[in-house]
Each structure stands twice: as C-alpha cells, then as structure tokens.
C-alpha cells in the first residue's frame, strides 16, 4: 500500500505538472493569431459538414432541368453536370474529406505510436527491428505505392473495403503515414525514459505498460498532437490527389477531391464547379497548418524546430 501511495503522489505531481503545462500551452496558443484564425475556419468547416443534412437538396439526386447553373440565390454555389446543388455536395464532400483526414490520423496513431513507444522504451534489438521497418516504409515513394494499393484494392472484393470507399482510402493513406509518429514517439520515449521520475516509478515497481502509458506518453503528447494536425491536412491533400488520378473515392459519393477533379475538364466554362471545392481544400489546409504552427510554438516555446530537431 505504501508503494502505491507514493506512486499516486508522484502521479499527482505529474498531473499538476501537465495541467500547468496545459494552461501554458493554451496561453501561448491564444497569442498566435494564425492559429486562432485556423481554429475559427476549421470549426466553421466542421460545423458546415455536420449540418449538411439540413440542406433542402439531396446530394445525389439529379435535376436534369437545372444543369450547370451558375451561382444564384437558389443555388449559392451553382449546380453541377447533373443539376445537383453544388453547395450541398460540397457540404457532404466535407464530411467525406474531413472523415478521411480524421481516420488517417487515427490509423497512423494506432500504428505509429505503439511502434515508436516500444522501440524507444525497450531499445536494443526490438528498436533496431522496428526502426528498420519504419525506414523501409520511409524509403518508399509513398504516393506511388498509394496508387498501386488503391488500384489493387479496387479489384478485390473485401467486405467494407470494396470500390474505394472512405474506409479503403483512409486505410491506404494511413498505412503509409504512421512513420513520422513512430519516429517522434520513439525520440520522446528515448529522452524521457532516462528521466528521474521514470526511474522512480520503475523503482517503485510500476509495470512497463503502466510507465509507458501513464507516465511517458502524456509527456510526449505535444509532438504527437502537432504531427496529428499536420497529418490531417496531408491526408486531405493526398485524397484529392488520388481522386485527380482516378484512384480516389468514387462518385456519386462526393469528396472535395473528386468534386475538384471532375470539374477540371470544364474549368473555363463552368469555373464555379472547380473554384468552390478548391477553396474548401485551400481553407481547410491553410487553417490546419496554422493550427499546427500555433501548437508547435505553444508546446515548445524555446525550440521552434520541433519537427526536424529530432532528425
């Protein structure tokens, strides 16, 4: 019992520590104008996507009598080749693109964080093996492999993964996005595992898993959050790139990427078809990058060089 109580004390200390760190982060974050701009914009985009069903139009129902209408009060972003309300489709496309972003981040964290944690905590042979695997993934021209993977998955009938669904595309992108997480977490674990409080909890008999999850991980959360933010943006861009090449999410399900790539043929004639989805991608990425920048500064006020410092 005694052991436990000491342990609890150290934990409490740590929580107070991280709580004060949290307020400090928030204070610094608030002072970053770009980050605030980013938060506002991305919140608006997310709320819009969530409210998509409130639109009076059906995103997939065509209206042959109103094809290619330019923006008006009735259709504020105009209509597309099948007479569908572009605004509604952009909203639904936002759901798809933002969920791709979220799922990719989730998948990369699920794969990358444990790998980085194990490698950093145990070191030695396990570290060597895990890092060689990470290196292997980093050595591949990842976007080219994405193309190959989505081409292959396209043809295989796997329940839930057929026909390049949101899940398929997120999985494919996610499987090639976890390496940065693994490296960051490994670096954090390497530095933290030698600190006194880890040595202390180890001396107190804390299990490895407990130490990793309850003590080290919370202290390496900064870089993970920053990287997750940036990865969210990359994923949206990569999905739109895949769509441009014809390997992305398939119509009639709209995503910002496939709305944009479908529009490019008639760019000059019906520019609104391309401008609005393009603006959505642009604003989401720019706000995400600002948030990431703000977070980076906030988490690490002394070292702006976070991402590359670990190299």
């Amino acid at each position: 019992m005694a052991e436990l109580s000491i342990n609890e004390t150290s934990l409490t200390n740590e929580y107070t520590q991280s709580a004060s760190m949290g307020t400090g982060v928030w204070k610094r974050f608030r002072r970053h104008p770009g980050a605030i701009f980013g938060i506002v914009v991305i919140t608006i985009l997310i709320v819009m996507a969530l409210l998509a069903p409130a639109s009076p139009y059906n995103p997939e129902a065509s209206d042959i009598t109103s094809r290619y209408e330019s923006p008006s009060l009735r259709h504020i972003m105009g209509t597309d080749a099948l007479g569908r309300d572009l605004f509604t489709r952009v909203l639904y496309g936002g759901r798809v693109s933002l969920s791709v972003g979220l799922m990719v981040v989730a998948i990369s964290i699920i794969i990358g964080v444990p790998i980085g944690a194990l490698a950093g905590y145990y070191g030695g042979a396990l570290d060597a093996i895990l890092m060689r695997i990470t290196d292997a993934f980093l050595s591949l021209p990842s976007f080219l492999v994405l193309i190959l993977l989505s081409a292959i998955l396209w043809e295989i009938e796997i329940p839930m993964l057929s026909g390049n669904s949101v899940l398929t595309i997120s999985l494919v992108i996610g499987v090639f996005s976890w390496t940065t997480f693994a490296r960051l977490v490994r670096a954090a674990f390497l530095s933290i595992r030698e600190t006194e409080f880890v040595a202390a909890s180890r001396a107190l008999g804390g299990s490895d898993a407990r130490i990793m999850i309850r003590h080290i991980l919370p202290n390496s959360i900064g870089p993970i959050i920053v990287e997750a933010t940036l990865e969210f943006g990359y994923a949206i861009i990569e999905e739109s790139g895949l769509s441009f090449l014809g390997f992305g999410i398939q119509p009639p399900t709209p995503s910002w990427g496939n709305l944009l790539s479908n529009a490019q043929e008639y760019f000059m004639k019906y520019p609104w078809l391309a401008i609005f989805p393009g603006l959505m991608i642009f604003f989401s990425i720019i706000s995400i990058n600002y948030i990431g920048d703000g977070l980076r500064d906030a988490f690490d006020p002394n070292k702006v060089l976070n991402k590359v410092g670990e190299v």
Binding site: I64, R67, W154, E155, G163, G246, Q250, N262, F267, K269
Partner: protein, 567 residues
C-alpha cells in the same frame, strides 16, 4: 563549413543538372520545321505499331501512317484495295465456292509497285510470313476468322490463295482494315514472335510516312515516305505526334494552334469546339458505336446461367423493367448533347436494317413489371426485396453493381449515374463502379471483370467496323462465345434457334442473310440479353488549316492521312 563550401556545392549540383540535361540531347536532330508539317496530340504512347497486341487505338493510329494491309475500309464502309491490285469477288473469279463442302478459296493479286522503305518489293512472301506469324502456336496472335483458314498458298511473287474451311464472309478485310497489316518478312525477326518483335516498334514502312524518331513519352516524328506508291502523295511532309496526357491541355493546344488534330472528341467537346474559328470537328458518316448495357444472366462471379442463374437478372421481366425505366432521350439530349441517335436493335445499319418497334420509356410499366415478377418493397426502405419472385430466395434484396469504364469520360459517367438514379427510383439499390477498360475486358485468368462474370450490369460501347456484322454477332451472342475468354458473350446467353440462324448466315447469299439477321433481331428483342441505348458518331477535332480529314466509323482518323493537305 563556410559560405564558399555551400556555394561550391551548389555549383556542382548546378553543373550536374546542366550536364544531365545535355545528355538528353542524344536523339538525332530532326529536320527543320517547314510549313508542311502538322502536330497530332494523343494522351499516351502507343504500345507498338501492332494494334492486335494491345488494341489501344493509338497503335492503330500510328500503324495507319506507316503500314498497309491488303485492303482497307473507307469512311462510307466500302472496302478498297491497298496492297491488293483489286478485290477478289465471286463475280471476278477471285472467290471460288465449293457448295458441297461448304468451303471457299480466295485468290489475291497484289500490286507490283509497292516497296518497303528500304527498297525491297512487297510480295506474297510477306503475306505468308504474316499469316505464319499470327498462327504461330507459341508466339502468335489472333485475328477474326483466322480459325476458318486452312492454308495460304503462294502462286507467284505477287499472288496467293487463301483456302477456307468454311464460308467466311469477312474475308475481304481479314488481312487489312483497322487492325491487320502485312509485315516485312525480310525485316521482322520471326524468332521474337508476332507479339513482341522489334519491327512493331521500329517499323519498316510501306505506307505514306516513315517513322524517323520516337522519344518515349514525349513525341514521335514521321516524315514523308519518298517511295510511296501513290505518286505525289502524301502532301504533308512531317507529322509530329506529341504525347500530352491532360485532356484540357490538348484542347487548349488545339485552340491555340499548337496542335492540328486531337482524336476521339467527346460530345461536350464537339459542342464547345464547333463555334471556334480555327478548329473543325470531323464526324463519321456512319454510326458504329452502340452504347449498350450487358446483363449478367449468371450469378455474379460465375459464368454458368443454368447452374447458377442470376438471382435478379435471369428473370426477363426484370430486364424489360430496366429497359422501360431508362430515359434514353434525356440521356441523348443532355449528356451527349443530341450528337447520338437512339437505337434498340443491332440491325440498324445498311445493308441490314430490321424493323423492330421502338420500346417505350415508362417508369410505371417498369414498376408494374417488377411487381409482377415478385420484387416488392415491403419494408419501406425504398429497395425492393424478393416477395414471391422466381429467381431468388424470399427476402433477397434487389441490389446490384453497375460498372462502366473510365476512358470514355464524363458523358458516360453522367449517364451511368443518371441510369443508376432512375433504377434507384424504381426500387433497385445500384452500386456504381468505374474501372479502366483494360481491367474490364481482360481475360478471366487475369481477373478481367467481364470474362470472369464478376459483374451484374455493365454499360459500354461497341459496334462493328465495315458492312458485315457476322463476326461481331458471333462473338457477342453465339453460345460458343459464352465460354470465358473465347468471346464477348458476357451475358452467357444462348438460344438454339439463334444458333441455327447464326450458322446459316455464313453464306454469300445476300437475301438469305438479310432474312436471317432480321429473325435474329426478333429473338434478341424478345429475350433482351443486351440493352441497346443509342449510337454515336466518331468525331475528331482538327485545325481548319488541315484539310481532307474524314473521320471514319470503320478506322482511325489517320486512315487517309496520305490524302491530307494543308491550307
């Protein structure tokens, strides 16, 4: 480190870059530009000059510039001799029938004034060599009707006889037309095999142009063949083919006068380009391509409609309902901008036109047919289930995949979405898929979607070249063509009466053929294995200065490149 080190490093990199770019210039320099040169833009390199291997269209495009067949087909569908002096017929004694045996032999006489670009005359030996290469059991290929040939016998240097084991009506274009040419025996390396020989990538020309340069992925240059057998032709001295993958860039190049020809113009682009001052769109005189829907009569993933019938589509009433639910007129008008004509039977072209009444677009009829067939939406989710249907288990949900290919472009994709929506209103759940043609049509052993029966409904276009539909009908509707990889009967449809008629049309008796084809048309109308929607013309956009371009439904636009002139 100091600044000079960084600078010296950058200098080295810069030098390497310049040297590298210099290395690029190892290709032989091209002759200077002159006013008699044109630029064609295409999206990808042709795989070779032999369209039989990969059939991408781009191979046939360049093949027509440099190679000749025994005959070719013009834009009106008439066959004309190329390497042949004249066309062998029954009347001129070139074709000899053996009525009892049901066989025939065709004797060809070749022109004596055609030479390969190296000066060697084109002879019957080249024809025999080509035939032997195609039929080579290990490295050969396949062309329509090749199995009907027993032997090819040389008579002299410029004549030979083809002996058929049947009456083969397509004999006139068997060694010509849009895909088959005669290859030089003295130049091609037979050991490399028909499918892989080098002479299909560095061809020895006997046509109007000679390939002078091919920078992979960038451009190809063709120059006038000074030894072309037609005196004074071609007038164009140089054709450059630029590889430009992006369609909107190709279109802009055409409008800017940087390109003279962009083939396979889609309907929305025709509409766009028709008002432009510097660009004309040539449209084919004949309609050939028919947009059609294929019903898989066998369950998805299988190829035997008897052992494993399709749970939904094997009921004729469902197929009829689908037809009644599709608004062909709206599709033609809206997505194909009125450039297409609705058709509903294979036999709508001269000389075989059959009178089949046009089916009616009527969603109510469609719904009634589905109700009658036992497909009803009882749980109110908008999708019908089997409630007393004859082809599936009770409660089976009416859900199907609907596939098309990507290369056609936007009009077909919109059509697919529109049809899916109309069927959705009818109570079917339709899942859309768009795949590359090469995957849709690959052999079953390669996971080809159609050949392995891995679909429910498909939509794409095909039609026959020239005036004889026999081979086409055989490969799409014959029972033998329903075997995976042996034909295109992806419906796995068969009908005994139809088989008999199909056997009967292998005759040169025109009246008999007309009668047989129209009886076939009636059977197809009754059984509806395929659903024909409309037919489109071919179109190719070209600059106004390039004259005599005539798009053909029977061949690639370069079929008459020797006749092109510049204004």
């Amino acid at each position: 480190m100091n600044r000079s080190r960084v600078l010296s490093l950058l200098t080295v990199v810069l030098l390497v870059a310049i040297v590298l770019s210099g290395c690029q210039q190892n290709a032989p320099s091209t002759p200077a530009a002159d006013s008699k040169s044109i630029v064609i833009v295409i999206p990808e390199d042709p795989p070779s000059f032999n369209p039989i291997i990969a059939d991408t269209g781009y191979d046939a495009l360049v093949m027509e510039l440099v190679m000749l067949g025994l005959s070719d087909i013009d834009a009106n569908g008439n066959v004309f001799p190329e390497l042949a002096e004249s066309l062998p017929t029954l009347e001129n004694g070139g074709v000899v029938m053996d009525e009892d045996a049901g066989t025939m032999s065709v004797t060809w006489k070749m022109r004596q004034d055609v030479k390969w670009a190296d000066g060697t005359p084109v002879t019957a030996d080249d024809v025999l060599f080509t035939y032997a290469s195609i039929t080579d059991p290990e490295n050969g290929g396949w062309i329509p009707g090749i199995d009907y040939i027993d032997s090819v016998d040389k008579i002299d240097d410029h004549s030979f006889t083809v002996n058929y084991n049947a009456v083969y009506t397509g004999y006139l274009t068997q060694f010509g037309g849009e895909q088959v040419v005669i290859w030089p025996a003295h130049y091609c390396d037979a050991a490399q095999g028909f499918a892989a020989w080098d002479c299909a990538r560095q061809p020895l020309s006997n046509g109007p142009f000679v390939l002078s340069e091919w920078v992979n992925g960038d451009h190809m240059t063709f120059t006038r063949n000074e030894n072309y057998y037609q005196a004074g032709k071609p007038e164009i001295e140089k054709i450059s083919i630029r590889i430009v993958p992006d369609q909107s860039v190709r279109k802009t190049m055409l409008l800017n006068g940087d390109a003279d020809l962009d083939m396979w113009t889609t309907e929305p682009m025709i509409a766009d380009l028709e008002g432009q001052p510097n660009v004309e769109v040539s449209r084919s005189i004949e309609n050939r391509w028919v947009m059609r829907i294929f019903f898989n009569l066998a369950a998805k993933g299988t190829t035997d409609p008897v052992a494993t019938p399709h749970p939904i589509l094997s009921d004729l009433r469902v197929r009829q309902a689908i037809r009644a639910a599709i608004d062909v007129d709206t599709i033609s008008k809206e997505f194909f901008l009125g450039y297409v004509t609705p058709v509903w039977t294979e036999f709508f072209r001269t000389p075989y036109i059959c009178n089949i009444p046009r089916p009616e677009f009527n969603p109510e009829t469609a719904a009634a047919l589905l109700d009658e067939a036992g497909w009803k939406d009882t749980d109110g989710d908008g999708v019908r289930e089997c409630r007393g249907c004859e082809t599936a288990e009770e409660g089976y949900v009416m859900e199907m995949d609907f596939i098309t290919y990507s290369e056609y472009g936007e009009p077909l994709e919109l059509t697919q979405q529109f049809i899916a929506e109309q069927l959705g209103k009818l109570g079917m759940k339709i899942n859309l898929k768009i795949v590359e043609g090469s995957i849709l049509w690959a052999a079953s052993t390669d996971g080809g979607i159609e050949q392995s029966g891995n679909f429910d409904i498909d939509i794409w276009d095909d039609g026959y070249s020239g005036v004889d539909p026999t081979d086409f009908i055989y490969s799409y509707y014959a029972a033998a063509s329903a075997e995976p990889d042996l034909g295109y009967n992806y419906m796995r449809w068969s009908n005994d009466e139809f088989e008999t008629l199909l056997g009967d049309v292998y005759t040169l008796d025109e009246e008999q053929r007309k009668k047989d084809f129209c009886e076939m048309a009636a059977i197809l109308e009754e059984e509806l294995p395929q659903l024909l929607l409309f037919t489109a013309v071919n179109a190719d956009a070209h600059s106004s200065r390039l004259q005599n371009v005539q798009t053909s439904a029977n061949d690639l636009v370069t079929w008459n490149a020797a006749d092109w002139t510049l204004k």
